[in-house]
């Protein structure tokens, strides 16, 4: 009895550890190291990403003497060989240096993946040059969502729901193949897979002529802890009408997307719920011979 309890405890602990491995708003273990920061401030959605790095204009005590004023800060990115890459060579929209002693670096439009920026402090005349201080961020890849159905018929009667063996809508998610991950980094080999992320699936139905409002209350919200790249929804609605079904997916680690699709794609599939027909009326009429 005791042994059984211990095994159960270990299994539970194992499951707990496994659950913690998903990258979520509360746990970014799989992105760290080498990700900088203590939370999610160094994780960005792909779309419209920008941020500023600011270097102190006096030295810290790390790897040298503190409180020495820098005459200039030089900025680099860490290239795939782990060396100093010049910012103009980085494949992004803009990288602008500004501020006192060039202490600020503003970046826009990073593609998905890891980026490590390096700041090197220089004293007057470039006599002394510090070891580089690194700062690593991660940009989330956009997602592609597909939605499929195993319903045998897209019309069913209000009182005749699809059988449980054929009432499933299945959403499948993958990294958007048109947005490749950054290769100008030494950390390409540690890029996470989509399955490493915790995803949120929100299911909606919209009238045939309606539009999706993701602020509306969804039919269901799922955040699977395993097999995170797929989710299912069972069609059990009995509300009469012609409906389009949507799934909306996003990362839970950071506001991103959301990435959505409708069942049927460009020509949405309409699932119609018809009313239960009334009893037939039986009348009798004279038969003329």
């Amino acid at each position: 009895m005791l042994k059984t309890g211990l095994v159960a405890l270990f299994l539970l602990a194992g499951l707990t550890v496994s659950a913690q491995q998903l990258i979520s708003s509360t746990d970014q273990t799989k992105l760290r190291p080498p990700l900088s920061g203590t939370g999610t401030e160094t994780i960005f959605a792909h779309e419209n990403t920008s941020f500023r790095l600011t270097a102190s204009t006096t030295s810290s005590s790390t790897d040298g003497q503190a409180d020495i004023t820098f005459d200039n800060i030089k900025w680099y990115f860490k290239n795939d060989a782990g060396g100093f890459g010049d910012l103009p060579d980085l494949n992004l929209t803009t990288a602008a240096v500004s501020g006192t002693a060039n202490s600020q670096l503003t970046l826009n439009g990073l593609k998905p993946g890891f980026y490590t920026f390096m700041a090197v402090g220089e004293t007057a005349g470039e006599v002394c040059v510090t070891e580089p201080e690194e700062f690593t961020v991660f940009v989330l890849p956009p997602l592609t969502v597909t939605l499929s159905s195993d319903l045998q018929s897209n019309i069913y009667c209000q009182d005749d729901l699809p059988p449980t063996s054929n009432n499933t809508l299945t959403a499948s998610v993958s990294f958007d193949a048109t947005h490749s991950l950054n290769t100008q980094t030494p950390y390409s080999s540690t890029n996470p897979t989509l399955g490493d992320f915790e995803l949120r699936y929100r299911w909606y139905k919209v009238t045939e002529n309606g539009t999706l409002d993701i602020q509306a209350t969804p039919l269901a919200i799922h955040t699977p802890s395993a097999n995170t790249t797929t989710d299912t929804y069972n069609v059990v609605e009995t509300e009469l009408g012609r409906w389009k079904y949507y799934v909306v997916v996003d990362y839970t680690v950071k506001n991103s997307g959301p990435y959505q699709t409708v069942l049927g794609g460009g020509t949405p599939t309409i699932i119609e719920v018809t009313p239960k027909p009334g009893r037939p009326t039986i009348t009798i009429e004279a038969v003329t011979p």
Binding site: S36, G37, E41, T42, F44, A45, E47, N48, T49, S50, F51, R52, L53, T54, A55, S56, T57, S59, S60, S61, T62, D63, G64, Q65, A66, I68, F70, I73, S103, T106, F117, A119, V120, G121, T123, G125, V127, C128, V129, T130, E131, P132, E133, F135, V137, K254, N255
Partner: protein, 474 residues
């Protein structure tokens, strides 16, 4: 003595031999085996002329022993007087012996270079056909005769230069060295003056004659200035019209004070002064000249029209003129005089430095020269470059201060004290302060002066701290 040309300049065999000898000599107290002068040390004269009523009138050689007394400043004077009808001659023989005795004369191999230092006044330029220079053997004493005085006469003369060939060699007036290579073995060289009814006296000063032989030279002596030449050259005008003079020309050689080069009224002629050092230099030794513009202040060398300060090895220029060098260190020395110090490392070997003025319109008229010297001291980069090289992060490599750094030829020692002490283990210092650099000639073991440098070692700052702000993440 069997003198051969084993050691032509830049000959690798010669260099290897010198290296070998030098290595041997290191153990014997810092001296250098190199070519040095061996002076002719026996002299004889032969004076001939005419006998007028038992009065013998001849050419003369006065102060004859001065040409062999080992004093480079002193000279004999050969003279054929003016206005005497008849052939008069004055000949002086300078002979190489082992001990100054004619009986111990030396037969020197043919084609050995021998150099004579002679003064040629410009007044005698038209009389150069009356001067003959050559080598001799078989010098013998002669008794006084009807037309000659007692003295010495060689039975075998080998005349080499005279007349126009002599004019092309000197092309000026003043002190000149004439180097000849007799095609016969010889005991010495002679100069003969000959005149007949001269309108001006024919007079030459004969300082000495020497050959170069390998010998030991001490560290102190190796870079010492030992001789000088000075005078005027024709430049752009007829030499007879040339002006110019050098006052106190021995000053930069014997330390008796500055000399002054004056171009005189004829700026198209040239005035020159050549400082001759004891030995040919080792590679990248530093030539140093301290000059003063009589007008005062820091000289703008680019504006010193007609000035050329040129190292030579014998008669061959070595490198670019010092005042045109790209690595010239020019600084105004402290003090009210306005002395300008020019220092340049000279890659090639040189044994003399000539300062020449004039030859062009607008040439500098006068120049005071305080010092012409040569050292193998470490030659530092100019101040602005030196500051950069000696101000480094965490550590400074003192050898970076040395512009003429030549580890193939010199070892370098680095000290924390100006004298004595123990050399540092290497040239890297991690603390700011004054350090001293010394070069040691690998061949001779001779040590240079210790040159002070100021190292400025800065602390390495820690990394900058990075923060992220202004994130747009939608």
């Amino acid at each position: 003595m069997d003198i051969r040309h084993w050691y032509p300049c830049y000959n690798s065999a010669f260099i290897a031999f010198i290296l070998l000898l030098g290595l041997v000599q290191v153990g014997y107290g810092q001296s250098l085996i190199t070519k040095k002068r061996t002076y002719a040390n026996f002299q004889g004269t032969y004076e001939t002329g005419i006998n007028l009523a038992l009065v013998l009138v001849t050419g003369t050689v006065s102060n004859a022993s001065n040409a062999t007394n080992g004093n480079v400043k002193s000279y004999s004077t050969l003279n054929v007087p003016v206005g005497v009808a008849g052939v008069l001659t004055a000949t002086q023989y300078l002979e190489f012996t082992t001990n100054g005795q004619h009986t111990n004369r030396i037969l020197i191999d043919a084609n050995t270079a021998v150099t004579l230092k002679i003064t040629f006044p410009k007044e005698i330029l038209g009389l150069l056909s009356g001067i003959e220079i050559g080598s001799f053997t078989e010098l013998k004493s002669v008794n006084a005769g009807l037309v000659n005085r007692a003295g010495y006469r060689a039975d075998n003369h080998n005349p080499i230069v005279s007349g126009s060939s002599l004019l092309s060699l000197i092309n000026g007036a003043g002190e000149f060295e004439i180097t000849i290579m007799p095609n016969q073995s010889f005991n010495g060289v002679y100069m003969k003056l000959l005149g007949n009814g001269l309108s001006v006296a024919l007079t030459n000063n004969f300082f000495h004659a020497y050959i170069l032989e390998n010998g030991s030279v001490s560290c102190i002596e190796r870079d010492k200035a030992i001789d000088k030449l000075s005078g005027v050259r024709a430049g752009g005008i007829n030499l007879l019209n040339a002006t110019g003079s050098v006052t106190n020309p021995w000053g930069v050689v014997d330390g008796s004070g500055p000399m002054t080069l004056n171009l005189g009224t004829q700026v198209l002629s040239e005035v020159f002064h050549t400082t001759i050092f004891n030995t040919a230099s080792r590679p990248n030794q530093v030539a140093k000249v301290v000059i003063q513009n009589p007008g005062g202040g820091l000289l703008n060398l680019n504006l010193l029209t007609g000035l050329k300060i040129q190292p030579f090895l014998g008669n061959t220029p070595v490198g670019t003129p010092i005042n045109e060098s790209q690595v010239l260190s020019l600084r105004l020395l402290p003090g009210p005089e306005g002395k300008n110090e020019l220092m340049v490392p000279v890659a090639g070997s040189f044994d003399r430095i000539e300062i020449k003025m004039g030859g062009v319109a607008g040439a500098l008229g006068s120049l005071i020269v305080h010092e012409v010297s040569r050292t193998f001291d470490p030659f530092l980069y100019p101040a602005h470059e030196l500051d950069e090289k000696l101000m480094q992060c965490e550590s400074v490599d003192l050898k970076e201060a040395i512009l003429n750094y030549q580890p193939m030829n010199y070892d370098y020692n680095y000290y924390t004290v100006v004298s004595g002490g123990v050399p540092m283990s290497n040239s890297i210092v991690t603390e700011s302060g004054t350090y001293y650099i010394e070069a040691v000639d690998k061949i001779s073991g001779c040590s240079s002066a210790r040159i002070a440098v100021e190292a400025n070692v800065l602390p390495l700052p820690g990394k900058p701290h990075l923060t992220i702000t202004d994130a747009v993440n939608e």
